[in-house]
């Protein structure tokens, strides 16, 4: 019995047919292969081919695409007939496959995670350095490392803004702000700002993300010493709020009549701009949720931040990063130097390991995955390529050791966690790397 044609196979085969046809034809207009949310293919032509050619294509593609090219759909569109031609011919999501001609693009529609393939947003002003803390898996000490870095930078006299973007599992607020308690009639927890990141998104949708709101989203952490640590929690300190009702409305693109829709990542960038404008920090640290989630896509690709990728050296970690890099690899050029903004962090390094040996082994595994987004060696001096043991390479880890003292992270309660020498033992290398990364001029 003939095997059903599945998603990936259909794409490979349909792409092959279209590219073969394009290479053999004189069609010079732009051609866009659209794969819709169901994975079903349609082709939009700027210049209409002969009917006979379309029939041949239809017949061939029905075979190669199976149910992803169903006979009961209209598969061919011509630019002049479209209601919104720019939404197909001039769309940020479209890309040219490496073996396709220049007049050909693939437009893959995604219900979520679209912004993994978007370039950075255009900032209107000069922003302070931003660092995104991301992990493909959770529970590797990402938030702890962020809080400890904020503490360290504050000791160096830096004003730090930290923002919790782990909206589905908020952790930064509870780590850096006092335990949630109210006193007297107050409906807001002591020491907490009234609002958080989710509030900004719901208020912004009806044009109410004003200066007052920004003011009421900012808390101050007691971890601060020489510089301030301002914190924007995911969830504010209002006691009787419905957090999930707000969370369910966060990931919204805002349609605008007669204008381009403002996608989620652009809104996130606008929120950050507003917060930075208000607090004028020296540096911004963003705690981004683990996994291949929408907010991670926006934070990693769109904010122009350096991205600290947390990992433990296991197959499941590398498989996760490989999925991401395979998605990026054909379009890496347009992601605004994303490769230069990646830093691997070897988290939870076991205490019984010799760090230099562990780092080499880690780097070797990471390198295999990073090869997906490194250039193939061609002798070109501009190429982005590193050997496994190159310590300057994005894949080469900065290690954070697994330390008993930080298993339950609560620095406001457990003073030992802020003990200078203990912190240096676990985070010293990371602090050093981050400082030179975020403040390169001072380093020089």
């Amino acid at each position: 019995m003939k095997k059903t044609i599945r998603f990936d196979q259909a794409f490979r085969q349909v792409l092959q047919v279209v590219i073969r046809w394009l290479n053999a034809t004189a069609n010079s207009g732009k051609v866009v292969l659209v794969r819709d949310l169901y994975g079903v293919f349609r082709i939009a032509f700027e210049t209409q081919p002969e009917q006979e050619i379309l029939e041949q294509l239809q017949a061939e593609l029905s075979i190669e695409g199976g149910s992803y090219f169903p006979r009961t759909s209209r598969h061919f569109f011509f630019k002049d007939d479209l209601i919104a031609p720019e939404a197909i011919f001039d769309c940020l999501d479209a890309w040219t496959p490496p073996d396709g001609p220049d007049n050909f693009q693939v437009l893959d529609r995604h219900l979520t995670g679209r912004e993994w393939l978007f370039p950075a947003t255009k900032n209107t002003g000069i922003t302070p350095p931003r660092a995104v803390f991301f992990g493909i898996k959770g529970g590797v000490g990402r938030t702890t490392a962020l809080a400890m870095l904020a503490w360290h930078l504050s000791k160096l006299g830096k004003n730090v803004l930290v923002v919790d973007l782990d909206l589905e599992s908020p952790g930064l607020g509870p780590s850096l702000l006092p335990s949630m308690k109210t006193s007297g009639d107050s409906r807001i927890a002591q020491g907490w700002p009234e609002f958080g990141v989710v509030d900004w998104f719901v208020e912004d949708a009806i044009d109410q993300a004003d200066d007052d709101l920004i003011e009421d989203m900012l808390g101050s952490s007691k971890l601060a010493s020489n510089g301030e640590i301002r914190i924007v929690p995911a969830c504010g300190g209002l006691v009787d709020q419905d957090y999930l009702s707000k969370l369910s409305r966060v990931y919204m693109d805002l349609p605008k009549l007669g204008k381009d829709t403002e996608v989620f990542g652009d809104r996130l960038a606008r929120m950050l701009d507003q917060l930075e404008e208000k607090t004028k920090p020296d540096v911004v640290l963003l705690d981004c949720r683990a996994g291949l989630h929408d907010i991670s896509s926006a934070a990693l690709t769109r904010l122009g931040a350096v991205n600290y990728l947390f990992a433990v050296d296991t197959d499941q970690t590398w498989d996760g990063y490989r999925h991401l890099f395979l998605h990026w690899r054909h379009q890496i050029e347009r992601l605004d130097g994303i490769r230069q903004r990646l830093r691997m962090i070897g988290a939870l390094t076991p205490a019984n390991e010799i760090p230099s040996e562990y780092a080499k082994r880690f780097a070797d595994h990471a390198h295999r995955v990073f090869l997906e987004i490194y250039d193939k060696p061609s002798g070109d001096s501009e190429e982005f390529n590193f050997s496994p043991n190159d310590e300057r390479a994005p894949h080469y880890p900065t290690l954070i050791s697994s330390h008993q003292a930080y298993l339950r992270f609560a620095p406001l309660e457990e003073a030992v966690q802020l003990d200078e020498s203990r912190a240096r033992e676990a985070f010293g290398g990371f602090f050093e790397m981050a400082v030179s990364d975020l403040f390169p001029e001072e380093e020089a």
Binding site: D36, L37, R42, R74, I83, H110, L111, T261
Partner: protein, 135 residues
């Protein structure tokens, strides 16, 4: 005249339902209007999401909308290829329910329109209207 796609979608749908419920002889008319109701609802969603823009005198900005385009069945597939452009575009079923529906059938004697066909088009129009009203 400036089109009001939303109001037109509802008007065509209500009229179509009246005709459908009245007598079998009105099925071709009902079927035609379910198609137009769907078209208007999809255009309203696209308009609301900034994908269909009208000039100040109410004409669609694409001057070349011609032939069968902009009508079912094409408009359904066209809509499916825009879904995902932004998260606010509601998702419609993948199988085009208007395959075989033709805007030129307004010139036909209507003998090919069966109960079953009208039911499919009724359900499709309702899905499009729900999408329009929920978006």
């Amino acid at each position: 005249m400036k089109p009001n796609y939303g109001a037109a979608a509802i008007r065509h749908f209500k009229d179509a339902k009246c005709l459908k419920d009245k007598h079998r002889s009105h099925l071709p008319g009902a079927d035609h209007l379910f198609g137009l109701a769907t078209e208007c609802a999809l255009k309203r969603i696209l308009e609301k999401n900034g994908l269909l823009t009208l000039t100040p005198d109410g004409k669609p900005e694409q001057p070349n909308l011609r032939g069968t385009h902009g009508h079912p069945p094409d408009v359904w597939d066209e809509y499916l290829s825009y879904q995902g452009k932004n998260r606010a575009l509601p998702v419609l079923p993948t199988t085009n329910p208007f395959f075989g529906w033709d805007i030129s059938d307004r010139y036909s004697n209507g003998s090919s329109i069966t109960d079953a066909v009208v039911t499919v088009h009724h359900d499709a129009a309702r899905a499009a209207l729900n999408a329009m009203q929920g978006s």
